[in-house]
Symmetry: C2
Subunit: 156 residues, 2 copies
């Protein structure tokens, strides 16, 4: 079915990654190409699609191990009900982790926005705890509500 085969150099430039990375994923068992009789690696369109997913996940911070476990869904889901439940459980975990990550990122995002606004309203003083010239400093007043401000505020 698939007619096109690509050599590793083409694959690398097509997906904007490095040859070493592709070979590394092969060492890790994530992407096994076919070979010419002489040993040159050949990648099909399927390989490209698979590699694209791997790169997406890697960029999001998934480790090789985590990607490998996600890839094992099919295998395990075919080997009886118990292991199938095990896989379902693992997937739930993954989804929960991702969900938590999203929540945490949204929180940080909001805090950065809030912090920016508060700081903008404090052009006069120097924003240090020892400052006496700005007793109602908005930064200090929001330290408890906007946790990220503690990073901006000088440590005592």
């Amino acid at each position: 079915m698939e007619i096109n085969n690509y050599k590793i150099g083409e694959v690398a430039s097509k997906l904007a990654t490095s040859i070493r990375t592709i070979r590394y994923y092969e060492e890790e068992g994530l992407l096994i190409p076919t070979r010419t009789p002489r040993g040159t690696r050949l990648y099909s369109e399927n390989h490209l699609a698979r590699l694209h997913v791997i790169l997406r996940l890697a960029k999001l911070g998934f480790s090789i191990e985590a990607i490998r476990k996600i890839a094992e869904i099919r295998v395990d889901s075919q080997t009886g009900d118990e292991s199938s439940n095990h896989v379902e459980h693992h997937l739930e975990e993954v989804l929960n982790t991702i969900g938590g990550q999203i929540k945490a990122l949204e929180k940080v995002s909001h805090e950065i926005n809030d912090a920016r606004r508060v700081i903008a309203g404090c052009h006069g003083c120097s924003n240090t705890p020892s400052t006496q010239g700005c007793p109602d400093c908005p930064v200090r007043k929001n330290l408890n509500d906007i946790e990220l401000l503690n990073l901006v505020w000088d440590t005592e």
Copy 2:
């Protein structure tokens, strides 16, 4: 104002991190404690709040360098308009990056759910491209719509 001071061991257990990590952040200039005359590190409540933010960001994948740059907001926002604009620009970048990360994570999350559903509807066949026994295999039919399925599908 702040009365409580904590030694490094207390801080580590309070924030569920390691002593080495705290000292490492100090080496990196992110969290500078005061010292007793003899040299023992002392951390105030402010230090704790600051460390908590650092740990949150680190857990989200922010590098030390990225955290440092966020912490520099205050400093730079006080040094004239040009650098202030520079900081604003950097913050926009950070927010865009976070936003993109959130979108990408949501996409993966949806794909995992979709993939799970599709695979569940394919208990019979072996899910490999060479399978002839399942010509209408739902996995193959969704390979283009649900990119993550390419990771689950055996590579040709």
